[in-house]
């Protein structure tokens, strides 16, 4: 154990290089993941505001119109439905205009009772709309389906892109770190050969290097985490300063704290331990 920790200081430059590479790669992965996470949340929020309107047959009485909701709620993929009477609909309509007086005397009967429906999964919008058409008492179903489909496409593309980019970055980081550790091992091949010569077991030879890899990985992860936090806060503050329309709504870093700590620690551990374990194998065949 002591040898492993001593090794970090003894091989200063290589240790510094390994930590820097870990920090750089984790920063890229971390930044990209938090960006994707935020975009996902924003798309979800936009999606939630995308509602379907089901208009009720004018021939039905108020009581009958209200009972249609029970059938609507039974349709698959319907998360919730809210009954909006023609009076409420008119009020909402008037409230959207700057000069409500212009609508004085408008008869609510010109409008229809309707249900405002929120879906569980907007990707199934077309199918759900067809199901809603089948509901007795529903005469029209309206949704901005092109917009909804657009959101779904963005979400799908984001998922695929994020998986690919994170996977590529992780592989690249592992390769770079494994190479850095290999260089450090090459630097110490004589020591390893001597240890083998005097009868050290493979496990005993490996242990200090794995401890060293673990410490370097964790140091890299801790540094990357601190920098990520700083960068994230700075970036969000700057975006919020220019984004007066509040188009972007980033979650505070505290919300990402636990997953970020877990990911960075796991990546640091994996990269440090696996990197040193696999690189040392080559030097063990003496």
């Amino acid at each position: 154990m002591k040898e492993g920790i001593r090794g970090i200081f003894l091989h200063g430059f290589m240790s510094f290089a390994a930590v820097c590479v870990t920090v750089a790669c984790l920063l890229i992965v971390g930044t990209f993941s938090s960006l994707i996470y935020n975009l996902n949340i924003m798309v979800e929020e936009l999606n939630m505001t995308n509602e379907v309107l089901a208009y009720v047959d004018e021939e039905l009485s108020d009581a009958e119109a209200r009972s249609v909701g029970t059938t609507i709620n039974r349709v698959d993929n319907v998360l919730e439905s809210n009954f909006v009477s023609r009076e409420e609909a008119l009020q909402n309509f008037i409230a959207d205009y700057e000069n409500p007086a212009a609508f004085d005397g408008t008869d609510p009967m010109t409008l229809q009772h309707r249900y405002v429906i929120v879906l569980k999964d907007n990707r199934l919008l077309t199918e759900t709309m067809e199901d809603l058409w089948e509901v007795p008492g529903v005469v029209d179903v309206v949704a901005f389906d092109e917009l909804a489909e657009g959101f779904s496409t963005i979400q799908d593309v984001l998922h695929i892109v994020s998986i690919v980019v994170i996977a590529v970055l992780l592989v690249v980081s592992l390769l770079i770190i494994s190479n850095t550790v290999k260089l450090a091992m090459y630097d110490r091949r004589d020591e390893i050969a001597i240890m083998k010569m005097v009868g050290a077991t493979n496990g005993f030879i490996r242990f200090p290097y794995v401890v060293e890899g673990f410490c370097l990985g964790m140091m890299g992860a801790a540094l990357a985490f601190g920098l990520e936090w700083l960068m994230y806060d700075q970036l969000v503050a700057r975006i919020n300063a220019v984004d007066t329309l509040q188009l972007f709504n980033f979650v505070p870093f505290q919300q990402l704290l636990l997953p970020m700590i877990a990911t960075f620690a796991a990546a640091g551990l994996f990269v440090g331990v696996v990197g040193s374990w696999t690189s040392i194998r080559k030097f063990m065949n003496v």
Partner: protein, 228 residues
């Protein structure tokens, strides 16, 4: 004890390094292994230290059968065999003391044992006053003494010295060979690979001569050459 029985060793390229070698070196014995380049001396050392396995025949070293040894047993075999090389193979960024202590740490010795044993071994090889120096501050002879100290510190029953005087002048060579003889007198089996005919004749020990992978001569009657 080192025992070779009808040992052959062939490399993948079809090169036959050893052809039917049989020999026995008893515990506490001192033997020279001589022969021209390519005669199979290095192959014998590698077979003794478990770096190679024989193609046929059997090799027994200090109770281990090298034909059947498991990979995980090899470190324990190596603890019974100390090796000294022509090029010393010291760690230049460690002090004399640390170079020797490193060999003890490598097999998991405790610090208390190390603090007691290393000064004793350094005194045995005459380096007690140089423990804080680094290898590059030592003469060739002193570096070889340090390498011997490192080979000796884990108390192996056998020492294999591969051309230990190859990089030294005649006076230093004699000094090193005398040191190896002193260690042998303390009970350690000694196998010295060398080209130094004068030294071999000076010490009058058993000489095993190899030629083209076979034992050409084995006896107490001095250096044997192929031309003889």
């Amino acid at each position: 004890m080192i025992e070779f029985t009808d040992v052959t060793k062939s490399y993948v390229e079809g090169n036959h390094a050893l052809r039917g070698v049989s020999m026995q070196i008893e515990d506490g014995e001192f033997a020279f292994l001589v022969g021209p380049s390519g005669s199979g001396k290095s192959t014998i050392i590698k077979l003794i230290t478990g770096e190679l396995r024989p193609t046929s025949g059997s090799v027994h070293v200090n109770g281990y059968s090298l034909s059947r040894i498991r990979k995980r047993e090899i470190p324990y075999l190596r603890r019974t065999v100390g090796v000294v090389f022509q090029d010393f193979r010291l760690i230049n960024n460690k002090t004399v003391y640390e170079n020797v202590a490193f060999a003890m740490r490598a097999i998991g010795a405790r610090e208390k044992e190390i603090r007691a044993r290393v000064p004793y071994i350094l005194e045995l090889v005459g380096l007690e006053n140089k423990s804080r120096r680094h290898p590059n501050e030592l003469s060739g002879g002193e570096q070889q003494r340090l390498a011997i100290a490192r080979a000796l510190v884990n108390n192996p029953s056998t020492i294999i010295a591969d051309e230990p005087t190859g990089n030294l002048d005649p006076a230093m060579s004699l000094e090193i060979m005398s040191l190896l003889q002193e260690i042998n007198n303390l009970g350690t089996t000694m196998l010295v690979v060398t080209h130094a005919k004068d030294l071999v004749e000076h010490f009058g020990k058993r000489v095993i001569s190899l030629n083209e992978g076979m034992i050409a001569h084995d006896g107490m009657d001095g250096y044997y050459t192929y031309e003889d």
